[in-house]
Symmetry: C2
Subunit: 425 residues, 2 copies
């Protein structure tokens, strides 16, 4: 049987997943390719470390170019992560006419266009399904099955750490700090969780998805980010009461020639499919002008799910002969706008006396903000009371103008929260 | 620019969707193919009918072989439906070395294996994404992105009509008959809805999905079917009370060397993503041994969504050069079992007097059925009262044996419902 040679750069959790799946599902894989996958070389940091995969010792090397230049290798799988040296290795592999499969979101978000052009010039494939949302085949679905669609909207829950924290806060009535500690203890959050909780990780992934969706290079710098660090258990409780769940959304939408992008916490209606995405699960909801609304849901991380995505790309290359994709020149067709024309949830702490609600409502009115609902509740034994509004759709600048006025109003002791309410219109 | 010729057999709603998408999204399509799609011939019943698509009159023909034999046509799209003459046309097209894309579930469920072999022999592709779940790319996801996985479970809501009826019953507290009438008035159900409400349509689709998942030809005859005609608003109300929604599920699962298949109404936990699939939407939840749980959700029918799936297949053929798939010989590796080892919801009407619950529970015990929950309620001004049980997992034969005994017990006036409770273990 014909053999296809693989070289793997890096030997972390995803690489073990990949190697283990090739072992466990070998007959399925060989049957559907009619070819045998052979791992020729694997780049490791140390040759002595004990590993949980079953490969002969001579496969391991500490020299990346043993992997990249191996004469019987057609496909290089990059699983080191980060920009350098992954960037240099992938360029060398592509220039060496090897197909490349990678799970590296930072690299694709930063140098994707250049690497795709290099792959095209060399007549080989560059695939990166595993760079966004782990096992969920969102990238290939957009580029392949939905390629007849103009994608107008993407709304993703694409960071498992923050989704785990928000789910635990909601289900166990925890404060943010406690939920982070629990997530760290269980390995769902890093010791320094900032790249997740500040929204950076989701922004990288959104830049990849929106670049594909709109055919225009979307730079991660152009994506406004707001993390989940200010979400309180009060907000989560009001969300529930009003029929919503709070989720960290990565969203991109196009109206006419304007694109809006954002990573932000948002109220998601309890009846929307994104609301059932809990804990470490991920999902991407998108709208295409032919297919309508479509959601993909699954595991956004982990050894086997991410390995499944990597291997899906590898097998796609083997099955199609690794035809280079069409050279899609990325044009700057669309303007990046930042109107944030949305519904908003706003929570104040106010002095509990007559006229306060009327005064705030009147300031909203002056700024063309109309209200969808109001919740006023008295706290026990407190001088202040929470006052919660949900507005109709309005530009964020109107909200900011109104709040600028409200913050000087002496009966408002705190503007506690401002959170987008997503209505999926 | 190079042209790719299409011929279309049939001119119904999916064909108009397809032709309209090619018109509306032309620049996206041409850009991603670097080739132009040209519709050479369309088979119609009458040349005189006014149509809602923009094609020159000379494209239409009433002779299928004008379409199939057109010298500049590489891809034939079959959208007639039914077995004959679609079967003969597709065979002629494949033998004529044309790639074929079809949305025909009955044909693929019945003759899929033979047609795939014929395509393979002729070195062309046969694709049928649109035959299951409209715009949702479930087939290509399984054959392409998840091809490294052994699929162990498929649970689909793949009939929009029944899902619409059950959603309306639940949301508006309607009896089945009323919900069917409403669905018919809105065009969501046919004048004779039996193929939908009896589960036949879902069984065809499940046979296609499970054939792909298990690599073994699953005949629609081997799928036990139970429709939704006996679901009452009482059952829906108990389901809600117990934390479930009732859905018509098409399910296939493999344990060891046994496969179980079934189309049946089932209790789905309210917290499961399948529970948010409402009205005409479809979804397929599957488990792969690497990817874990994965769900695809979207529109299961309609002109543009189904057209999107057809066009996705057409573009896939153009982009990959229409490589024939590997000839996957379907072996009968697995046994078709019918144990239905599940949790069950059972509703009785009983004479409301002491000892009845104890007697029924004791018959359950004798048949090795253990109980997860019991709901007993008194009806107002009635001699009988409903008595509802949810069992732990047990083979269906134990349930049937217990019910055989219970039906002779004089204090049980009716065995009103037996419905599977799906726990997604």
């Amino acid at each position: 049987m014909e053999k296809v040679g693989l070289g793997i750069l890096g030997m972390g959790t995803v690489a073990s997943g990949l190697i283990n799946i090739i072992g466990i599902n070998n007959s399925k894989i060989t049957g559907s390719l009619n070819k045998e996958l052979v791992i020729n070389k694997v780049l490791v940091k140390s040759l002595d470390k004990k590993r949980d995969v079953n490969l002969p010792q001579e496969v391991y090397t500490t020299d990346a170019y043993d992997v990249i230049n191996h004469k019987d290798t057609q496909i290089i799988v990059e699983l080191i992560g980060g920009i350098s040296p992954a960037y240099e290795y992938i360029k060398a592999a592509l220039n060496n006419k090897k197909h490349v499969v990678t799970a590296n979101k930072a690299l694709i978000a930063t140098h994707g266009e250049e690497l795709e052009e290099l792959a095209y010039k060399n007549g080989v494939s560059l695939m990166y399904e595993a760079s966004v949302a782990g096992g969920i085949p969102i990238i290939n679905t957009m580029t392949d099955n939905l390629c007849a669609n103009e994608i107008t909207d993407i709304t993703g829950i694409i960071n498992g750490t923050t989704n785990y924290i928000l789910t635990q806060m909601a289900e166990n009535n925890l404060e943010y700090e406690q939920a982070v500690k629990d997530a760290q203890a269980l390995g769902f959050a890093e010791a320094d969780p900032s790249s997740d909780v500040e929204g950076d990780d989701a922004a990288y992934k959104l830049s990849i998805l929106s670049t594909i969706a709109f055919g225009q290079r979307i730079n991660v710098r152009d994506i406004p980010k707001e993390g989940i660090t200010k979400i309180s258990k009060e907000d989560i409780s009001y969300a529930k009461e009003l029929g919503y769940n709070i989720k960290l959304l990565a969203s991109a939408s196009r109206k006419g020639d304007e694109i809006e992008l954002r990573v932000h916490p948002a109220f998601v209606p309890a009846s929307h499919p994104l609301s059932t995405v809990k804990n470490e699960y991920n999902a991407v909801f998108l709208k295409g002008n032919a297919v309508g609304g479509l959601m993909l849901y699954g595991k956004g991380a982990g050894s086997l799910p991410t390995g499944s995505a990597v291997l899906g790309d590898v097998m796609h290359i083997v099955k199609t002969g690794g035809k280079a994709k069409i050279d899609l020149k990325k044009e700057n067709k669309y303007l990046i706008a930042n109107k944030a024309h949305k519904q908003y949830y706003i929570r104040f702490e106010v002095i509990d006396k007559p006229g306060v609600l009327a005064n705030i409502a009147s300031i909203f009115g002056k700024n063309d903000i109309s209200l969808a609902s109001v919740v006023q509740r008295q706290k026990n034994g407190d001088e202040t009371a929470p006052l919660v509004f949900i507005t109709h759709e309005v530009d964020r600048k109107n909200i900011d103008a109104a709040l600028e006025e409200i913050k000087d109003y002496k009966n408002v002791t705190q503007i506690a929260s401002i959170i987008v309410v997503e209505n999926f219109k």
